[in-house]
Every structure is written in structure tokens, then in C-alpha cells.
Symmetry: C3
Subunit: 338 residues, 3 copies
């Protein structure tokens, strides 16, 4: 059960519709049965649909009161008798589609708050909403159906495509955003990169003359900072998903569909290939190439190029099998020294 | 001496009162002597009370001009002749009580700034202050004597208990706060967790349908982000203290009195027991259990459950003695290789 | 070519002027030739000046269409025939001066936004600009020609010297800033340090009674947090440059010209000497001394004092040669175990 102060179900929805939406098999269940929402295994009731995706929760599954549950064929035998089974090879994906069906992204009423400040030369598309205290600079272009959050500051010349949602308390400058970009809160995009040339009289500031370009369908978490390029642009490829408190330095280029967990840091001029996945708190040095499809374990410290498709871990990062072997070897040797 | 532009002493206060407040023994000192404030050893004067808590500062203690000082019996002999000694087994705790007595948390005048924007359906308790530019949404409930900082944004439906202080430039949504919660600045609570289900056509966003619940007497540092639950709630137990720039993922549960130093990151669905202490920059993977009373050294990278009361360090984290032994062993072996 | 929506060149400028500004030798080139701006090697055209500073980009240099380029004598032979060479021992420094000449820091029109809120007892110097939604407290003093960004909040008593630029969405309290301080966005300065005295009834808050003092010519990146002192001040020495998302604890003292890359954390009461350089994501424990001129590699975890001028790396940090040797030794030993 969700908290109805915050969430509103689009249900009820019949089981057959869910099966059809997700491709799951509603084996031996009443397809006309209706459901009101989704819930985790331990909190779901008869009107909820749940999912089992992680072996750690098989026991919770066996004891769940959920009316229906997405489950892999392998675990179906552990289900309680009253549960309708939605059998699928990808329960989490099926759950995601179902949850989106019950709880679509909230609509917003268009309109410009009288407490917002919008420069005369800015252009806003149809259906845009600008919340209280937002500040929009000269020659900013905002596409249709965008929402600009409260107290967010958008500097002169920024371009924002259609259907973007910019949360509260963000700053954007020197930036070009595609469509359907979702920025959470407190995100800072387009500030100067960290560029200083050491000289005899101390460090001299290097003007940062590039931009940040952000592709379609990018989502960025709260507190994340993306510096603009020093000369080249900083580029966030379409479909990339970036978590909270991530640092992306100047001239960094992310390919398509890159996934970056919280608190990662990517130093200047590094290129990250399509579909790369970074665990939390990874650090990557500057001027490196991370090959497409590479996976870096949480807390990796990357000081060299990484080949496409490789899995690395540790600091300095090495192939993940080597990292595990090194960990085991060191533990063994330390035991001997006792 | 504090800077009187920023701090105002409630003194003068007699030594006897300080001794009585803290349980310290004012051995062979004039109990009627009055003091004006507190100060660190190297800056204190005759009107100040100081403390010695760390062996690194014994020399500063021996040379201090402080009028009085909290000190363990062991170091009392090193005191300058003019110093009144306040002997106690816990000088830092006694100092904290004394500093609170001289410098209580500043009062604030209640009132709603005309530059704040408050929805008609929001309810505010007696004695609330809302600063300039704050935005408070529909059906928000704020308890008595709360302060909401400038330009802070509180979304629809949020509940805030009595005597909370929310700093400037925070965002809150999908959140239920207890009493006496202290949020510093630029804190983001309640945004979507990082939930994507990988699929054939790219990552699909998983609706985040839980809340953040925060217990009584929690304090949270600037720049920290706490994502709301994906289905379960994200829970911050009463009395927990969280430092700056910490990341707390969806569904994380902190027990009572958990202490988290700056820049830690806790991945989704991990449970942290009562009284756990995390040093700075610790990272903890998702779906783990950290037992009550465990202590994790700064920069630990935790990939396994941790038993209650255990002390761990390193990455991957191991019992702290093993970590130190591994460090020594590796240094020794590397020397041999030279 | 820069994006003229965001940047405006002060050119054209003659080659002779650039040579004279930077001390580079314009060997065998037409000194009267004019240039319009700067650009990276792979995007520069005939009107642009570029630079070669990193051996990784020699090939891009050899194929560049840049009209002129700063280059070390060693690589001059690789230049395309049409390129005017600006030969120097420090191409990056020369480029920085040149880029500043073409793209000086943007001017701003002075003036107080009618949507800003400024206390009656605050004093603002000549030529100050205060942007929309900014809140300036009682007895704040702001020097001449400062800019205060949109929705930034400056608490009572803060002092700001001449020619400072404070970005949008910052908070300042309990702080004294020198001249020409540059704060980017979303920076939080002066909040309580993380001070709790553990006691039998739980942690007791220790009043934080110091300030933050920031010297001349300091630059601080977005999302960075600097806590005020607990009793002593937190001190940021003149000329220091701090990147994004850095955490600086209470009582930390930075010397002159300290360079700190993104996501570093420095725990309370640590002193950092003049000219120290920290790579990204470094963590330093509390109550330590980092000697002047020391260099700490990215992700170092520092648990001991560091001698002046030393280079350290690893966690726990050791002299950098030892760190590299340990890394190699462990890899070798793990191979043997296979």
C-alpha cells in the first residue's frame, strides 16, 4: 500500500491487462481478477502485485500476502497458495512496467508562477510550467511541456528540449539539453571546470569555453555537478542515467546509455563508451578511454584505459577476477604472518 | 574568545554552576569565580573555559592561558598554575554541556515572510518561522516552533513534527519528519531513488513509491541526499547524526543513534543497526545488514554483512585487525621484492 | 570556435601581441596575422590559437587546422605546414593567458534586483550586483564590485571583500571572505561542524563557535561544503583552489595556494601546508599535518602526518613509490597462487 498523501493509483486494473502489458504468463490464475496497485513482498496485500527478483527475498516471497507476483519459473513452486503467479524471465522489468501503469509520472498544470522571473528574450513552449522563484535568463529557449522547479536558476542562452523536467534548486548555464531530460534537485550544470595552469606566480585560471550537451532521455540525480568543457564540450549521451552526488569534469564524454551510480567522479577529458556501468564511488582519472560495455565495480579507482566489455574492480583497477584473487591472496599471506 | 558578530554568550557564569552542570570536580578552585565563555586551549583567556581531550594537545594545555579547563585526572599535573581545574573522566562531554550553557541555540522570531509562498491547504503550528523565498506545498503539515529556511522548497503532503529546523535551500518531498529534526543546508530528501530495470530497449524507470521517514532528534549535514523508498520506506532512526555530502539510497534503514561521517554512501535496501558508526567516505553495497554497534573505519568498502559490534576496515572491508595485518604484510613483502 | 550564445571574443588580436603577452617565440611566422579566438586542436580553424601540452594529443596536433599553436620546442617538427608556431616551455600556461585575453571574465551591470531581500543594516560597496531572490542578512558587509548570485542566502554578520563573485544558490554564515573570492554554485559555507560528544544518553551536540575565513583569490567549486570551526576557525588560505563536492571539516586549516580536486574530504582539525596538491577523492583523517608542497595521488586515504614535499598514494597512504611497488608485488603474488 502506498501513502495516498503522495501517490495516486490509476487502478483498478485486471490481471489479464498486466499479463498482456508485460508478456508474463498468468498461469492458472483468474485473468479477470482486479488489482489496485503494487507493493513490496512484505507489505503487499490481496489487491497488490509484487515481484521476486533477488534470491535474498525468497523467504519473504513464500510468506507474502500479495495477490499476485512476478516470478521466474524456478521459484514458482515456493509461492503461497493464494497468490496469482505472473511467470516471466525478467520479474523486475515486468514490475517496472506494471508500476508505471499504476503510477504514471504525475501530471502538472502548465503556467508561469507570478513569483518566477523570466527574461523578455526567453521563449517558452506550449504547456510549460515555471515554479515559484525560478529565474530564467536572456535568450533561454525552453521546449513544450517542460517543468522548471522552484528557485531554479537558468542562465542566459541555455536550450532545453521538449518534455524536460528540471527539479527545484538547480542551476544551468552554458548547456544544451535534448528531450525528456529529467533533472532531480540541487544539480549544477555548466559551471567552470577545474582548470588552472600552474605558473611561477601561482595558478592561473584557464577560461572554460565549452558547453555541456545532454542527450535525450537522460536522468540526473540530486547534488550532481557537471562542469562545462574547457574548449571541447562535456557530453552526456542519450539515455544515460546518473545518480546523486556524481562529479563529471570538463570535456568528459559519456556515450549512449551509460549508468553511473552515486558519488562517482570522472576527471577531465575521459571518454566513457556506450552502455558502460559504474558502481558507486568509482573514481576515474583524466584523459582515459573506458570501452563500450565495460563494468566497473563499486569503489574502483581507474588509472588506465579499460577495454570494451571488460569487468574491472579495485584501486588501481584490474580485471575483476584478478582483483578477487589479489584480495584472497593478501588475506592468506597475512594469516601466515600471524 | 568568540566573534561577537556571530555568537552571543549567556554568561557570566560561576565556576560552581559549571561544576554542578557537568559533574566535574572543581578541585582547589574558587567556586565563585566567573567565566564569560568557552574557547580552545590556544586562544582561551582568563575568562574562558577550555578542555583537554586529545593527547596531541597536552603541550597546548600546559601553555594555555584558559581560566579553567576540563581535564582527566591523569593530565591534571601538567596544568599551568593559574588554571582552575575541572577534573572529569569525560572532558569533551563536559565541555559540550558547558558550551551549550554559554551559547544556547539561537532563538528566532516567529513569523511568515511576505516573500514566502505557502499553499492554502498547508497547516503551520504556533511559533513557526518561514523565511524569505521558501515554498510550501499543498497539505503540508508543520509542527510548532519550526523554522523553515530561506528558499527551501517543501512539496505537497510532507509532515514535519514540532521544533524542527530546516536550513536554507533544502528540498523535501514524500517525507515524514519527527520532532527536533535539524537539517542544515542544501539537503535533498525524498527524490526518486536510482531505480532502472534493464531491458532490451534500454533502461526503464521504476516508479519509486515509498517515502522517507525521519525519527526524532536526527541531524543531517549540508549537501546530503536521501532518496525515498522504491516501495518500502527509507528510514532514518531517531537520534541519528549524518554529516555532509552523504548519499543514502532507496529503502535503506538506519537504526537508532547511527553516526555517519561525511561523504559516505549507502546503497539501496541496506539495513544499518542501532548505534553503528561510519567513518568518512565509507561505501556500503546494497541489500546488506550491518549489525548493531558495528564500527567501520573511514573509507571502508563494505561488500558483506557485518556482525553486531564488529570493527571493520579496508576495501573489501575485513575485521580491522586483519586489515592492519594485511597492510603490514603487503608492505613487508613489497620491501623484499626490492 | 566557441558557441557565441555563451561566449564573446575580445578579438581580433595580432600574433605579435600574443607572443608578447605570453613570452612565446613566434618563430618564422607573420606577426601581423590576426586571430579571433582559441580552440582545442581538433576543432580549431585558421582563426584560432590552440595548444599542445599532453603527449596523448601529438597526433591531433599533427592534423590540426589551427592557425597557430603553443608548443614545446621538442614537438615543433610535427606541426602542419600552415600552422604558425608559438614555441614555449609552458604551452598550457601560455594558452591560459591567451584565452583570458580573448575571453575575459564577463562584465556585469551593477544593481540590486527588486526581487532580492537585503537587511537594512547590511552595507554594500559601490558597483555591487545582487541577483533575484538573494537574501542578505543583518550587518552583512559586502565590498565593492561584488556579485551575489540568484537565490543565494547570506546570513547575519558575514563579511565579503572587494571583487568577490558568489554564484547562485549558495549559503554563507559565520564567514569572513577576502578579496576576489570566486564561489561557484550550491556551495555551503559556515554551517555547524560535525561535533557530537558521546554520552550515556546518546550523542550531545557540541556548539560550533568558530568561523570560516577565506583568503584572497580563493576559488571554490559547486556543491562544496566548508564547516565553520568548533572553537578555532576553519581557514582557507589565499590562492587556494577547491573543486566540486569537496568536504572540509571544522577547524581545518589550508595554507596558501592549496589545490584540492573534486570529492576530497578533510576531517576536522587537520592542517594542510602551503602548495599541497590533492588528487580527486582523497580522504584525510582528522588532527593530521600535511607538510607544505606534499602531493597526494587521487583516492589516497591518509591516516598519518605527511612530510613536506612528499608524494604519497594508496590507502592507507604510503610514499608513492612504495604504493606502486606494493601494487606490483600483490599482482605478482596473486599470479603465483593461480
Amino acid at each position: 500500500m502506498v501513502d495516498t498523501r503522495f501517490f495516486h493509483s490509476a487502478g483498478p486494473i485486471r490481471l489479464n491487462e498486466i499479463a498482456s502489458l508485460t508478456g508474463a504468463t498468468a498461469a492458472s490464475a483468474d485473468g479477470e481478477r482486479i488489482f489496485l496497485g503494487v507493493a513490496p513482498l512484505d507489505r503487499a496485500g490481496a489487491g497488490d502485485i509484487s515481484f521476486l527478483d533477488n534470491v535474498k527475498y525468497v523467504e519473504a516471497f513464500a510468506q507474502s500476502k500479495a495477490g499476485a507476483c512476478f516470478v521466474r519459473p524456478h521459484y514458482a513452486g515456493r509461492a503461497p497458495a493464494t497468490m496469482a503467479l505472473l511467470v516471466t524471465d525478467d520479474p523486475y522489468y515486468a514490475y517496472a512496467l506494471t508500476a508505471q501503469r499504476f503510477y504514471p509520472q504525475p501530471e502538472f498544470a502548465p503556467g508561469i508562477s507570478p513569483q518566477a522571473t523570466i527574461a523578455k528574450t526567453a521563449t517558452l513552449g506550449k504547456g510549460v510550467r515555471v515554479d515559484k522563484g525560478a529565474v530564467i535568463g536572456e535568450n533561454v529557449n525552453i521546449g513544450e511541456r517542460c517543468r522548471i522547479g522552484a528557485n531554479t536558476v537558468i542562465d542566459d542562452g541555455v536550450e532545453i528540449g521538449d518534455d524536460c523536467r528540471i527539479g527545484a534548486l538547480c542551476t544551468l548555464s552554458h548547456a544544451i539539453l535534448g528531450q525528456r531530460v529529467l533533472l532531480h534537485r540541487g544539480i549544477h550544470i555548466g559551471q567552470d571546470g577545474f582548470g588552472f595552469a600552474p605558473g611561477k606566480k601561482g595558478a592561473v585560471k584557464v577560461p572554460q569555453l565549452g558547453r555541456v550537451t545532454i542527450g535525450n532521455d537522460v536522468e540526473i540525480g540530486s547534488g550532481t555537478c557537471i562542469d562545462r568543457g574547457a574548449g571541447p564540450d562535456t557530453v552526456i549521451g542519450a539515455g544515460s542515467k546518473i545518480d546523486n552526488l556524481v562529479q563529471i569534469g570538463h570535456n568528459v564524454q559519456l556515450g549512449l546509455g551509460v549508468i553511473i551510480a552515486a558519488q562517482c567522479g570522472i576527471a577531465g577529458s575521459t571518454h566513457i563508451g556506450n552502455g558502460v556501468m559504474l558502481g558507486g564511488q568509482v573514481g576515474i582519472s583524466g584523459h582515459l578511454n573506458i570501452g563500450a560495455g565495460a563494468k566497473l565495480a563499486a569503489r574502483s579507482g581507474v588509472m588506465t584505459n579499460i577495454p570494451p566489455g571488460a569487468a574491472y574492480g579495485g584501486a588501481p583497477a584490474v580485471p575483476i577476477k584478478d582483483w578477487h584473487r589479489q584480495t584472497v591472496t593478501l588475506a592468506k599471506l597475512a594469516k601466515k604472518e600471524e
